[in-house]
Amino acid sequence: MSDELVDFGEFVQASLPGLLRYGHALTGNPHDAADLVQTVLEKIGSRWTHVQRKTADPLAYIRRAMANAHISRWRRLRRENLVAELPEQRAAEPVDPFEHEPLWRALRELPPRQRAVIVLRYYEGLSEAEIASSLGVSAGTVKSQASKAIATLRNKIGSISGGRDEW
């Protein structure tokens, strides 16, 4: 194995728990999280030296790549489901630990783009401008996506908040 991949292996060991957790927030379930993390990391690893030259913070770079992959993957999944008609059945589907959390269930029903905006904002703590740059959309789009998402979440979980929606 080359030195480059030894180094990458160490990086993976250190960052995997955090990335899986982030993927869980992004996708809403452990299976998709594992799938997303593995796919993105393999891609990054095959270019590891190059990626490190390009960015001072590979972890942040990988999280943005995951958000974008999640959004674009969703379109393909929808297409495949349309073709296959049968959604994938997983016999050993584990119980979602958040099954009874209204907010988690509401999040799961958001379109991927809106969910990504929420995760980047409240999980990663990014600003509106940073989210816009991460997702390659305008700040206005981030604002409208976020306010749509917030309105949907409020609506779904009832009024746990009387506060104004400034997003």
Partner: protein
């Protein structure tokens, strides 16, 4: 932006929840490294076998370009993790990795967020000197764009237009399997096949909201296989994000280009207001 509203606090609490943790499988790291090695080997094989044949169609010498292996087109290996059932608190903070063997990053990427400025780290190095000295110059295996490629944009494809209602879109006769109106956002294939456009996304409220390109190219002749350099040349106002670039079409819509880590467009979309 009201940072302190209760819903925001609820979201932060949820994202902080220890149950969000997923325990990696013991061999997960090895599987990922093996996958990375396989991708790299395949790319090199492609570059080696394609180098001679494609030398004639190389547009720019000195670009670092690679094989066509988009992240999201890859079949996933069997899942390598099990959901966590532990009740011990996982470390919520990812340990910052260190890179002893790597050169320090360029000063321009010192910002905590790598995409906060146009000279984003997601943009590949394009200067001949830098990439050249790293001995990573490779020939692309992508053929030059066909002059006859179908054009997608700036506001639609053939008679299908962004913003068109489902009924109007259906009336063009271009949608396959368009028996029922979409209940939520749904992707439709075209009756002509998927060679040019992979699918069209229609939302109940916004009508046609996106086209996902396969072989089609923009009116500026950019498409899958184009390099970031070509993108920037075609669209000087290109906005960079990690893994993608976006530009306005001029009519309020956008082209979003998903780019591999080595700077080649792997697929792209024509998107109206992102309803979906």
């Amino acid at each position: 932006m009201n940072h302190d509203d209760e819903l925001g606090a609820e979201l932060r609490r949820l994202f902080d929840d220890e149950r969000l943790a997923i325990r990696p499988a013991p061999e997960a790291g090895d599987a990922i490294v093996a996958g990375a090695r396989m991708r790299r080997r395949r790319r090199r094989t492609l570059a080696a076998s394609g180098g001679v044949l494609t030398a004639a169609v190389l547009v720019t010498v000195g670009l670092v370009v690679g094989g066509p292996d988009p992240v999201t087109h890859e079949a996933a290996l069997p899942t390598t993790v099990a959901p966590s059932t532990t009740t011990t608190a996982p470390g919520p903070v990812v340990v910052p990795p260190s890179f002893p063997a790597e050169p320090p990053p360029p000063p321009t990427s010192g910002a905590p967020v790598p995409t906060s400025e146009p000279a984003s780290p997601s943009a590949p190095a394009t200067s001949g000197s830098k990439t050249g000295s790293s001995s990573k110059v490779r020939a692309t295996t992508r053929p030059a764009p066909a002059i006859t490629a179908a054009v997608l944009g700036p506001d639609g494809y053939r008679t299908l237009r962004l913003g068109m209602s489902f009924a109007d879109a259906k009336a063009t006769g271009m949608l396959a399997d368009a028996d029922s109106a979409p209940a939520g956002c749904a992707a439709y294939r075209l009756t002509e096949g998927t060679a040019n456009v992979a699918n069209v996304t229609i939302s109940p409220s916004g009508g046609v909201v996106a086209f996902t390109a396969s072989g089609a190219r923009t009116p500026e002749n950019v498409g899958a296989g184009s390099t970031v350099t070509e993108l920037k040349k075609a669209y000087p106002d290109l906005a960079a994000g990690p893994g993608n670039y976006s530009t306005a079409t001029g009519s309020g819509d956008h082209y979003t280009f998903y780019v591999s880590s080595d700077g080649v467009v792997v697929n792209w979309e024509l998107v109206a207001a992102p309803d979906c």
